[in-house]
Assembly symmetry: D2
Homo-oligomer: 406 residues x 4
């Protein structure tokens, strides 16, 4: 039946002027990085529920991540978080990754889990703590060099809980100082991705509270600094795809931390709350990737897609698979948009025509397309089913409870 | 100077038709319960910063709470959370409280920190877990009997993270079943206060998501069940004082969990984000307390004022003092509203006159009034200063780090 | 190609255990009421853009609405707003509707466009204005009797803009009084649907601010009073499907005003912002429609689906068609959920399995199904295309600019 | 009594190290511009309630505004909106203003009330409409030259309602083009203040949606372009004072449009919803005004304070007076913050000490201070009372109903 379905789908799309071979090439080229911490236990401030089978160390996290790549073919790299993934011998970890068919991706410093950081890390009014925090950033540059990673992904929990608690402008200057020092230590191939967040864990002000602050900082640092958009880090109602296309236009969109939220920074499976939003983000990216301006096209092709989620109550590996499949699904749908048709309607100021040209692509069932792509890539047509049938989920239960968590 | 200030204040208020002796009587009658857990370490999902001097057990928590009462005179009871405050011998804890000049207040069951509750407690689809959860509720009724408490304060973390995950209507029925069993076990003097919450830790649906669900449940259970308003548990923009006055009108407002929020359920010091909102809540309560209908008046006098906060980065006891002082301050200001003046402007449909009659009371400095009240109550006129001078904060540092937390 | 597509679709669904004949019957039975005012000019406080071809009177509004019904087959009734649709001879309007193949649906009183209502209508502190407002409600009951409508749909703009401006509890009582009088005037077949709204045009408090207030009021009035859910009238983040299923469980869900919002009460085309939310609302309704309890089943079958939108910048009739098609699309997708599969996963506490059982239905392309249904109903398989080809949109341009608006 | 009150107040403040003469000088130097349109009728999309006595033309608006200045002494300029305030002879309007003791302040172009702008003004995909819109901007520069104004205040309603409707990046370029042309036409003493808005009237995307977009645009335009912060134009929960201090640090804060909101862009009287927020904004400004860096100090002294409100249901002139009084009140309170004390607590990382040093200033009653300032300025000590006693409100009723509105 799937052959029939694909044939029919191809026929449909041809009639719409969509060349599936180009679409398939794009889908095969998609890369989605999974985070080592997404395989461990996580939770809320109220409770971290311990699951059976969670990896007990960085090596086991890479084993789980390798499963996701094996089944999807699009997740060849794994982000690490230091010190969660601190090991004595990074060369060994790198070799382990290579043996598993994956590599070490973005290096994420962690500046929010030591008592010293209660009032901030790089923006702490205490110079010694700022020094310590900056040294950790430099350590992460070194680790990146060691493991061959070219992405440094920075999120700061720094902020304050009460009016008057801190000198906001002094902290702005300290943030720049620390990042400038880190920036200078990077090799020319490295990129610094700067994340922003509306709130949490700080509840009055957050030093990097929105894209504007991250963008301005990246501008001051230089071309190797870019903005990282975490889809869960915005005020309610924010038009994220607008920010995405704005940053692309400024050549400052570095990458994504994908996840879903309905309320705060819920860190749910990407695409599970409002799949249309994810589709619309990809629409803006694909639109930029087809721009007349080669700089914009390049910017659109240079985005680091990364997942950043907390699987508090669901099985970790299937949750990651579901996330990757959701990303693929929405990307595939967005690739079916007939951009010429959209442009024509836009030029005619035909509101409903333009809306329809975008939305109607969302309504296609891309299962036949994705199955065809997977077949051509030599991975299972239904990665989730294949995983559940593989016995891996039962095998790792031998690890017992009490694995890694943050 | 403070005598002069009070004399002047009294003169001012007399001109406005406000009888300060009545106001002072009200202020002396105010009771604010502090929570045992507010003295322990707390934090966010990212980190619980450990502070020096945090109580190591329920007995020490009561010692700290007793300081707050000693200095303010208005915090004679302390809410407990089971099992955080579980002890072998509740009679001993009760005696300890009595010796310290305080008593055990609301008993709070805890149904969100055991692995069994990952998919819910009283609304779990597994009947055995529902049984276990309900048994814990009954245990809490027994503890309340033992310690002489007449308030059971219920918050449920129960909910789901994904569409389809649970049968929402089945869970609604299970919630009622469990609470009905608990209700039936209560003695006639007991009150069940039912809390609601917009979200967290559940991120798709929360079984008791808003006041309407808690209210409807309380209605079905009977007159001993009432709604508990946590000031941090609403969607952005919610007019909390409207909900408060609505519940008063229905004789179903049981009490408050006071705290402040700017974003999610931030659990900051009450009155620190928008003090005017706290003032407006008290305005509605005082308005009801002066109603022609004696039932409404009684409802307004029967409210359990409780603090429920997480002092993540600030010293615990001063944070609690600040909270109590903020509550007193806003209550005092609201007592200065000339309700006759407000009503007259309302009847004249004089928008700005009515607004002014309310707001202008907020603009008074009530320090002289509160100092006079404290003097008459025999407590320090500046409780915070008195605490900082008392040496207690240094004394408890001997407890070291690593005290109680949740 | 569409025959092949349907055959394949049917085969797919049969494999999933979905019987398309039952699904098609449901789709044919769906009724979506369109609002007369949705065909007129509308806008924001900043500007009402005047479009060419807008109906100039109630008769022309019905002509446009009849087009929508003719092309979709599922919109046989049209809601009216008094006095926007006030006519001297309602019998004539009724006959006009009948001649056009449609009927008069819900009667909507309007209590927000006379200077008298600046401080409220049924909750105005001025008894004479309350009387006038209540008389208008009674007039609408009479009109409903005259035109053979059995639904009275009530939205009140009543509220206040400043703290202290009004006596909230007095207004609560006045609201009840007015509606009780109206309720008593209704015939036994009539239903009163009570709408709530978070804010706008009132910016401090709204008398009926949330479902809880509307629900409590409906409960007090009696079985003929029910709650009307406008999908744009909630705080950000609200889980609307939770409210829907809660009201169904209480047998108090009267109907919907469908529209979409990203920010405030944006009144955009339903399904254009987050189509998954609309799908999830239908999932809860369909789940209730298959309940073991016949009362719940009946409640789910008794919902009045109505559209309530402002087509500020888009062509009115195509906007209405798009809305109806979107409703059909999401309802069709929700009908493809295998409820047995969901229940089984829920019972196994298989989070990802249950989520998948719901979401995967959303991912089907229901175009072949809807085309088949339309063919069997004798309406165009593509109503939008048929409309654009019909010449009607050009014909009405003869009406010129400056038609009806509110 | 007010002498006693002031003497006591002075004594109190001296003990805190606050020099009231400096505070008074600052209060006398404060300037708050009122908007001509704030004196006219306004409303929501549902209804503009017509009030008696509303000015019928720009000349009468200036007469009303002059009353506000006469009574407060701090409102010497009046913002105008073109074409709402379009007159044949601007020299005559300017002279009228001079005769009344006021002047023409910021010139506000209006690009949202002609049918041509239904799909945008300076960002319209139609080049002819962009030209027309840009010409209007240039016309406003000319008007500013004519009337001697040096502030051009720009708000654009431009945006879209549906995904796909417009080419967001093309519009970003068009916005820049139009503003560059306007910028080039300005004289060297002129400032262009660029406003941003989260949403409304556009409901999908707004071309200038947040401070980051306005800031980036201002940066590209040059030093005469700055950001205008409208306090009602942010997502819920936004820390506005953070944005304010961030822009000050970048020397790009041009001015404010003051108003209050609880929900959307409610345009209520500033300080009526959360007065503490207004106080905290002034705290950040005063902190910058005392910076070691002279550039920051200058930036803080160069802010254009303007009111922008809709007085939908309240009397216009008293509403404006109330607004100005609220601004003065919160500015006065913020001037009482002992910045040394705040800094010391910040350096000690004393969270509660720093919070207290800020908040405690808010709790003072500044009535004696403001009365003293007004006496010294030769204006009534209670401007509201003076206005109500003046007979002006009755006099203008002769204008009847149906005055200017937008």
């Amino acid at each position: 039946m799937s052959d029939k379905a694909y044939a029919l789908f191809e026929e449909q799309q041809a009639l719409r002027g969509i060349d599936l071979s180009a679409v398939k090439a794009k889908l095969k080229a998609l890369r989605v990085e999974t985070p080592s911490w997404g395989y461990g236990d996580s939770g809320t401030r109220f409770k971290v529920y311990k699951q059976t089978g969670v990896p007990r160390n960085p090596f086991e996290k890479f084993e789980d991540a390798a499963q996701v790549h094996k089944l999807t073919g699009v997740c060849p790299s794994v982000a690490v978080h230091i010190p969660w993934d601190k090991v004595d011998d990074y060369a060994k970890l790198k070799q382990h990754a290579t043996d598993l068919g994956v590599s070490i991706g973005a290096v994420n410093p962690n500046l929010f889990q030591e008592d010293d950081y209660i009032f901030g890390s790089v923006t702490n009014s205490n110079a010694a703590i700022r020094r310590k925090a900056t040294d950790h950033l430099l350590e992460c540059v070194d680790i990146a060099k060691t493991v061959g990673s070219d992405v440094l992904s920075l999120w700061f929990a720094d902020g304050s809980n009460y009016p008057g608690q801190v000198d906001i402008r002094a902290r702005k200057a300290w943030m720049y100082e620390a990042l400038k020092e880190m920036y200078n230590a990077m090799t020319p191939n490295m990129r610094m991705l700067i994340e922003y967040k509306f709130y949490e864990p700080a509840f009055y002000h957050t030093d990097l509270a929105d894209w504007g602050m991250a963008f301005n900082l990246a501008n001051k640092l230089g071309p190797q600094a870019e903005v990282l958009v975490d889809t869960g880090h915005h005020p309610q109602g924010t038009n994220i795809e607008h920010i995405v296309t704005y940053l692309l236009d400024e050549n400052k969109l570095g990458g994504f931390h994908f996840n879903s939220r309905k309320y705060g920074d819920d860190d749910l499976i990407v695409g599970s709350v409002n799949p249309y939003e994810l589709f619309l983000i990809f629409y803006q990216i694909i639109d930029a990737a087809n721009d007349k301006n080669s700089l914009i096209r390049k910017a659109a092709d240079n985005i680091a897609y990364m997942i950043d989620q907390s699987h508090n109550i669901e099985r970790k590996i299937p949750a990651m698979l579901r996330s990757v499949l959701n990303v693929q699904t929405q990307y595939a749908k967005a690739l079916l948009i007939n951009l010429e048709e959209v442009k024509a309607a836009q030029e005619n100021q035909d509101v409903l025509g333009a809306e329809d040209a975008v939305r109607s692509a969302f309504e296609f069932d891309v299962t036949p397309l994705l199955q065809a792509v997977r077949e051509e890539m030599g991975v299972p047509v239904d990665p989730m089913k294949a995983y559940l049938a593989s016995g891996y989920d039962e095998k790792i239960n031998a690890r017992g409870k009490g694995g890694a968590s943050w």
